[in-house]
């Protein structure tokens, strides 16, 4: 990711995102120093493959974005930037995307990156035999990939799909060497070859992943670091201790409470530009939560400021919707359900809920989910409801949400570069991530319309409308946007966390 001064200023002033990069001003004047090793702490290494086509684990993506480049890149405010694609044009009423590629780029095995390589990359993901984790996402969309010239490639789509660029800034856009993939076959996942700034040197699963500088990287002079090492740590807090003594340079997944442990002489806490969206979800198509009055009553019983205070030291943002402020598709929050136990009790009476029936609230074991469950349980008990907290292991949690065997529970999602990514996925009656059973023809229509136009202002309006409906019908109780931190050694220069939380270190360097 590029953090130059222009983007910094854009992000801080125009978008007023809370950035904490105290060193950035002085860092800009320092000359980058080449060499050195940057060590990244990885909690519970879950990496299984380095093949982007097959990757599922979040941990893998921490490494993949260093080994490979994407066609499109995301900026700090989620705006899309060129990467392997130098520029693009949208034609045929939004059904054809024409990409002009960077020239002279070579894969780490010396083979050229060109239009044919892009075509192979996408077609390989569509191939049934490859079992790509992105197949389901791309298959309905892509009609054909056309090589216009060696440096121009066109994507013909079955329908308008403005989310394509955002998808190509994520896993689906990571370009791997076709030659190497054919050569290694099944073993490609252990022998990754991309165009990225770093190459895989050593990978001891569960212990460390060592990457070395790619000396032939196509952006001349980059990267500055000689190597990047991912080291497994038992917990983020223990990783943080190791940042303090200089064993680790970057440790993510920290909350505001943990940042109290930081010694500013050695370590800086950097806030992620966009915090995760926390909510409570339930199944609205069956008892008991098909009772809209009951849902509203519970929503009014929740004191979100208190949750923010306790969970995020007041550093989160109350969410009256799904989209944080400061993105192109944000719309101003309309005041949602206010905290009012009296109103909640009145609605509860109207709902006809039998007060002696207990409500089960599922408490996943992960720390922030667990705390949310306990606080919410306490608050809805205060309006007279009987609440059972039922623990569920984090490893089983999402699978059980999908099976609908877990009903009322906290959930959280990272924002996406394109609103379609989360809105359609969660709220459309046919969305693949619709686990609430929510189905509203008006919302479906708005979401389909949102897919069919490319004008950003118009689209922002549509998603704003959906957001308002969601606040009224409460398929999710929107809680807040969290405050997530990365602890970074004071020796690290020219780096800040990205909104998608995958680190890019090609322009980072380490002071002596």
């Amino acid at each position: 990711m590029n953090i130059d001064r222009r983007h910094m200023m854009k992000a801080t002033s125009a978008f007023a995102l809370a950035l904490s990069t105290p060193w950035s001003a002085s860092a800009q004047q320092e000359t980058p120093r080449s060499g050195g090793t940057l060590t990244v702490g990885l909690v519970n290494d879950n990496t299984k493959t380095m093949d982007p086509r097959l990757s599922i684990q979040l941990d893998e993506r921490q490494v993949l974005f260093l080994l490979y480049d994407t066609l499109v890149a995301v900026d700090r405010n989620f705006s899309l930037q060129p990467d392997l694609a130098k520029s693009w044009k949208i034609e045929n009423d939004g059904k054809r995307y024409v990409f002009t590629l960077q020239e002279g780029v070579k894969f780490q095995d010396g083979t050229p990156f060109d239009a044919a390589a892009v075509k192979w990359n996408i077609e390989s993901r569509l191939d049934e035999k490859v079992l790509s984790s992105q197949r389901a996402q791309l298959l309905p969309v892509i009609a054909s990939i056309e090589i216009v010239s060696p440096s121009v490639v066109a994507f013909n789509l079955n329908y308008q799909y403005p989310s394509l660029l955002a998808d190509l800034a994520d896993r689906a856009g990571l370009m791997l060497s076709p030659t190497a993939a054919q050569k290694f076959g099944q073993d490609f996942g252990r022998n990754p070859v991309g165009t990225g700034a770093f190459v895989l040197k050593q990978w001891v699963q569960g212990t460390n992943i060592t990457l070395a500088r790619n000396p032939d990287y196509w952006r001349k002079g980059e990267p500055y670091l000689d190597s990047v090492v991912f080291r497994t740590v038992p917990s983020a807090v223990l990783g943080l201790q190791r940042v303090g003594i200089g064993e680790i340079d970057v440790m993510a997944n920290l909350g505001p409470a943990e940042t109290k442990l930081i010694d500013p002489r050695t370590t800086t806490a950097m806030k992620l530009p966009i915090g995760r969206w926390y909510s409570l979800q339930w199944q609205v198509d069956r008892a008991p939560f098909n009772n809209a009055k009951l849902r509203s009553a519970i929503a009014h019983a929740i004191d979100r400021n208190r949750i923010n205070q306790i969970l995020f030291d007041g550093q989160g943002t109350i969410a009256d919707g799904l989209t944080p402020q400061g993105l192109w598709y944000s719309s101003p929050f309309k005041p949602g359900f206010e905290y009012s136990p009296d109103k909640a009790r009145a609605l509860l009476k109207e709902s006809g809920w039998n007060m002696s029936d207990p409500i089960t609230l599922w408490a996943p074991s992960e720390a922030s989910y667990n705390r949310i469950s306990q606080l919410v349980g306490e608050q809805i008990q205060a309006i007279g409801l009987k609440v059972n907290l039922s623990p569920v292991a984090q490893s089983e949690y999402y699978a059980r949400v999908v099976q609908k065997s877990v009903n009322f529970t906290p959930s959280s999602w990272a924002s996406r570069a394109d609103p379609d990514g989360l809105y359609y996925f969660l709220l459309h009656s046919k969305g693949t991530g619709n686990t609430t059973g929510y189905s509203n023809p008006q919302v479906d229509r708005l979401l389909e319309q949102g897919r069919s136009i490319t004008d950003q202002t118009e689209r922002a309006k549509l998603y704003g409308q959906v957001q308002e409906i969601v606040m009224q019908e409460v398929p999710y109780i929107c809680l807040l946007f969290g405050a997530d931190y990365v602890a970074v050694s004071n020796k690290v220069r020219n780096w800040a966390p990205s909104p998608d939380s995958y680190p890019r270190f090609r322009r980072a360097w380490k002071a002596a």
Partner: protein, 260 residues
């Protein structure tokens, strides 16, 4: 005072003190143990003498209420162990023969299984609640109790007074209940105390491993675990509940050892 007597009195007075704390918790605790507050992870102060946890709850209040959870689970679990183990041990030891052989085999197999691993597996399957934990820990305790009772009975049944009872036509039930059981009471008492101490320890270990009582229950093992990450901010978050477990386990153990 002999060492053994001192042990017993020390154990008994500690247990009495812990029981008193458990009973008086609502009056002793300065706060509601499950009530969150805005001051999260505060260090020890006059208002919160041990500090507050991740949800701003007063750790001292939770520590006092935690005594209830530990005692109830520990005592009830060893009672369950007794109720199952004593009759089996009595009958197996007294009757002997094939029945005895079968019991001994089963007991040996069960004892060879590591208790904490078994408890982990069963809790993971059936889920943790006070009742479940009591049953699980009790079921894990009975083989040891049965084996000890059987051993005692094997010695007692050859004694002259048992033979005398048998010769005047006492029924087996009567001999077991009136002549043998009273003579193993002392051993049973010791075993009860030791079973309680190990049950409290196992329950705390389960909580520490994340399979304890569901939130927001104040239980010591869970408190040790959740305070772990904040050791460097406030070591008492994890040391205080840790010390409480140790003290309780130790006091029951002292009673048990002194009565052997």
């Amino acid at each position: 005072m002999s060492g053994r007597l001192f042990q017993r009195w020390l154990g008994l007075s500690l247990v009495a003190a812990i029981v008193l704390v458990a009973i008086l918790a609502p009056w002793l605790a300065p706060y509601d143990p499950n009530m969150s507050s805005g001051s999260v992870l505060s260090r020890p102060s006059a208002a919160n003498i041990i500090g507050t946890d991740q949800l701003g709850r007063d750790v001292f209040s939770r520590l006092l209420y935690g005594a209830r959870v530990s005692l109830v689970i520990g005592l009830a679990a060893s009672l369950v162990g007794m109720v199952i183990g004593v009759p089996i041990g009595l009958v197996s030891g007294y009757v002997g023969g094939k029945a005895d052989l079968a019991v001994v085999q089963v007991v040996d197999i069960l004892i060879s299984l590591p208790a904490i691993v078994m408890a982990l597996i069963i809790t993971a399957v059936v889920g943790a609640s006070v009742t479940n934990l009591i049953l699980i820990l009790g079921i894990l305790k009975w083989p040891i109790i049965a084996r000890i009772v059987r051993g005692q009975v094997l010695v007692l049944r050859e004694q002259a007074f048992v033979e005398a009872a048998r010769s005047i036509g006492c029924t087996t039930t009567r001999i077991l209940a009136r002549h043998i059981a009273p003579n193993i009471m002392r051993v049973l008492g010791a075993q009860f105390a030791i079973a309680t101490s190990t049950s409290i320890f196992t329950a705390a270990s389960l909580s520490f491993l994340g399979l304890g009582l569901p939130p927001p229950a104040a239980d010591w093992g869970g408190m040790v675990q959740s305070g772990f990450d904040y050791m460097f901010l406030n070591p008492l978050l994890t040391l205080a509940p840790g010390a409480a477990v140790t003290l309780t386990v130790l006091s029951f153990y002292l009673i048990g050892e002194s009565a052997k």
